[in-house]
Amino acid sequence: MEMDMKMRMNTNAGVNVSMSMNMNMDTNVDVNMNISDDLFLPLDESEKDSEFIAIESRSFIADAARRFSRNKLAMAGFIVLSAVVLLAIFGPVFSHYTFDGQDPSSRNSGSSLAHWFGTDKFGRDIFVRLLYGARISLMVGFVSAGINMAVGIAYGGISGYLGGKADMLMMRVVDIIYAIPSLLYVILIMLALGSNIRSILIGICISSWVSMARIVRSEILKLKTLEFSTAAFVIGASKARILFRHLLINALGPIIVTLTFMIPQAIFTEAFLSFVGVGISAPFASWGTLVQDARAFIDIYPMQVVYPVLAICVTIFSLNFIGDGLSDALNPKSRR
């Protein structure tokens, strides 16, 4: 502060030296004694900074990224999730085991150098099966979240933007889909269409897009009333342009946050289906089916349950931390 003041003084040629000596005097009790007459000369405009900007401005995204990266839990989640994704994509390439390769000579073996996490009752390498399971579980999570986002944004955006009767009708449909428990549909769909990834995706997506649609719609309704959308309309931006450029970009925060919470939801659902007995069928395995298969021998070989359980928990944990971190970072109210 003081430095700042002195520097400003020095730029002005006619500054009296006695003045900077008095600089430290903060109190106003007896300074009058030390003040020389020429201090009462008017101040040049250059010595003022009345229009300075008090808070440095940053773009919203940069600001959010900065706050996200400062959140230790969220960053840890991000790193762990990245590691899991990379392992799922590239891990199987470096292993000479396959997800269905059986080895009758070593069944239910414990951890060893050959089989890091041991083998299952058919002598299949559990580590490799976990990696393939990760592919299926993560794919279910990410793909369903992507479909949900696309459908939800389109539906909610259109509904909110149109408003009136169309909006009412579209929201009734959402209400109805929302009110029917999605897990029941999913089970029925799995039974009707067969136990494969496609049916799981259809089952999950058929109902879970509605929460995204609701969020997008309410954001759009909120933003529609703000001045800037009127302003955009006045300056001649087209309707579609207003909808997608202004409104959706502003609603990005809640959309991303909802998305990060949808992925664990989908992984949950997939695991639930495996448990109920309509999950991915053998020899393919998701994390859910790995747990389910090993459950029968939980007393004898508990580790066969523990590995997939850990994989599920760690992944969902990371996703939840990322989601929490994002919702803090993207919430303008928590901006500091």
């Binding site: 502060m1 003081e2 003041m5 003084m9 500054v15 009296n16 003045m19 008095n22 600089m23 005097m25 903060d26 109190t27 106003n28 009790v29 300074v31 009058n32 003040i35 007459d37 020429d38 201090l39 009462f40 000369l41 008017p42 101040l43 010595e47 003022k48 900074d49 009345s50 229009e51 300075f52 008090a54 808070i55 500091r336």
Partner: protein, 344 residues
């Protein structure tokens, strides 16, 4: 003096640093007086009053200052132990709503949306008087009638969202006045309202205060609002009182350039329609980086070199009129006349 504040400083701890919202303020209000406190947002006027009520946010601190109300010490500073804080809170609870009523700025957010007006009107009365629900309800109906709400009996059952902004503000006023407090603090009571309603509300506050002999502190950013209403006016800038005086002294014997600026930016329809509004250049100072000298200097057209490094002392012109500005220093005029300054 009903209220006597000495050397009050209020600070807030924020992630960016310490904000000094009120700085060494002395202030007093006599019984039955109607006074105004005027300043821009962030000038510390509301924070000062919230401190008096003991309603500071959690990050607020009061490093110095004594507050005396009706002969009792209610200073929020120097409360170090937990017992002291609890004792202070117990004392304040008896005063809040009972001896000091507060009218808030935004009638839309200060009423609880899911409680009936009856509940929100009577809870304070019951807390302080130990009367029954029925008696409190009777009092509340009378109050609603006095603040001009038609059919008070039936409207007691309604919720805030069923009232207009002006009506809600009347309810908030009724709550503040419900126990005939000795002092009413009105924090921008009309800012959120339509112009036509503003005058009615202000007149009502004045009338009720006079009838009951209540003292009123009217906090506003609008000099026009206080002009006709207040006995005395204080002008605040960046946490300090820069000029104080009776309404006449402030309007016709203006001393502080900031007060001049405020007067210049009043939209006065009646007197001089052709006169352009003169805005004060710049924006209020960053309370995190207050300059050593006068906080107004960066925006002041008549700032002098002394203003930058030295805080101005208070100069008294009469019993009631005082100003903190280097221009009031006798040397200012002398130097000015010697050097024939072009700036006005």
């Amino acid at each position: 003096m009903l209220l006597n504040i000495q050397d009050l400083t209020v600070e807030f701890t924020t992630p960016q640093g310490t904000v000094r919202a009120v700085r060494n303020v002395d202030y007093g209000v006599g019984a039955g007086e109607i006074v105004g406190v005027v300043g821009e947002s962030g000038s510390g006027k509301s924070v000062g009053m919230l401190t008096l009520m003991g309603l500071l946010a959690d990050n607020g601190r009061v490093p110095t200052g004594t507050i005396e109300f009706d002969g009792r010490d209610i200073s929020p500073s120097g409360l170090t132990s937990k017992a002291q804080r609890r004792d202070y809170e117990v004392r304040m609870r008896k005063i809040r709503g009972n001896e000091i009523g507060m009218i808030f700025q935004d009638p839309m957010t200060y009423l609880n949306p899911i409680l009936t007006i009856r509940r929100q009107m009577t809870e304070g009365i019951i807390t302080h008087t130990r009367c029954t629900e029925k008696e409190a309800e009777h009092i509340a109906v009378g109050l609603l009638g006095r603040v001009g709400i038609p059919n008070p009996q039936s409207r007691m059952r309604q919720y805030p969202f069923e009232f207009s902004g002006g009506m809600r503000q009347r309810i908030i006023i009724a709550i503040a006045l419900s126990l005939n407090p000795k002092l009413v603090i009105a924090d921008e009571p009309t800012t959120a309202l339509d112009v036509t309603v503003q005058a009615q509300i202000l007149e009502m506050i004045r009338k009720l205060a006079r009838e009951e002999g209540m003292a009123v502190v009217l906090i506003t950013h609008d000099l026009g609002v206080v002009a006709s209403l207040c006995d005395r006016i204080s002008i605040m800038y960046a946490g300090r009182i820069v000029e104080e005086g009776t309404a006449d002294e402030i309007f016709y014997d203006t001393r502080h350039p900031y007060t001049e600026g405020l007067l210049g930016s009043i939209n006065n329809h009646s007197t001089d329609a052709k006169k352009a509004l003169i805005p004060i250049p710049g924006s209020p100072p960053d309370l995190l980086k207050l300059p050593d000298g006068c906080a107004f200097a960066p925006r002041c057209a008549r700032a002098m070199r002394v203003c930058v490094g030295h805080a101005p002392a208070r100069t008294a012109f009469s019993e009631t009129h005082s100003c903190s500005c280097w221009l009031c220093d006798p040397r200012a005029n002398r130097v000015h006349s010697e050097t024939e300054v072009t700036t006005t």
